[in-house]
Symmetry: C2
Subunit: 119 residues, 2 copies
DNA sequence: CTAAAACCTGACGTTGACGTCAGAGGCAAG
DNA sequence: CTTGCCTCTGACGTCAACGTCAGGTTTTAG
């Protein structure tokens, strides 16, 4: 059977983002949609997963520009030297951020422990 | 001996931030400075450590407003119920962020491993 | 058939932590 | 004394990922 296409509202609800966000992703070249004869955007089911993936990368601090540059790595599984360098750079950056956050978390836990002592 | 006071440039260099940033912290109520007769800001040595601490909290996603609300917890070691709730909320938020970042990191490592296979 | 709900394209507004520029004063060295 | 760096107070600019509003079309439910 032909693939069932869904409209933007369903995609947004499915991925837990706003309709505006989905349009924004298209504007940034992250997510291309087909169009119905009347001009409405039509998506395949996997658009939901792609958006969830975008959210994950956004949370990791990657910009939409960087994601567009790295999308072929996921879609084709192949990379050039430049993309590999970017991947490693982002990986290292995220790793450093995890370390920073963990340190901050420790300081928060520290003061929580101290103040709880005074109960 | 009386405490040696330093000017804003030295503070900024010591903490690795811009002079503008230090002024901004004062504007947000994070860091109060004495003033010289001519109006220049004068800081104690520990201002550098305080700024490093601010940077750590900023990196963890706390706003300057939230930090001002929680500063007494560090300065006095005492908290009220409201502050304890905020501390735990921030701790949980940071913990969740660490988890998200770790998941993103895993996905990056995943694609790096795959693309390295194709060398 | 009609009204509500969903969709469309601009386009301006928001938030936080600063960057940057303008114009003016302050401070140690030579 | 003047050169040059540091500091001051506004105040507007920046960036990213959307939020929000306006004004109009389309789809759907009854």
């Amino acid at each position: 059977m032909a693939e069932r296409l869904i409209r933007i509202g369903e995609v947004a609800r499915g991925a837990g983002v706003s309709v505006r966000a989905v349009r924004y992703y298209e504007q940034q070249g992250l997510l291309i949609a087909e169009r119905s004869p009347s001009g409405q955007r039509l998506y395949r089911q996997d658009a939901v997963d792609r958006i969830r993936f975008f959210q994950q990368m956004f949370a990791a601090g990657l910009t939409s520009r960087r994601i567009t540059e790295l999308l072929p790595c996921w879609d084709s599984g192949h990379t050039d030297a430049n993309q590999r360098a970017m991947l490693r750079a982002e990986r290292d950056r995220v790793q450093a951020k995890v370390n920073d956050l963990q340190a901050a978390l420790d300081r928060l836990d520290e003061v929580i422990a101290i103040t709880d002592t005074h109960l």
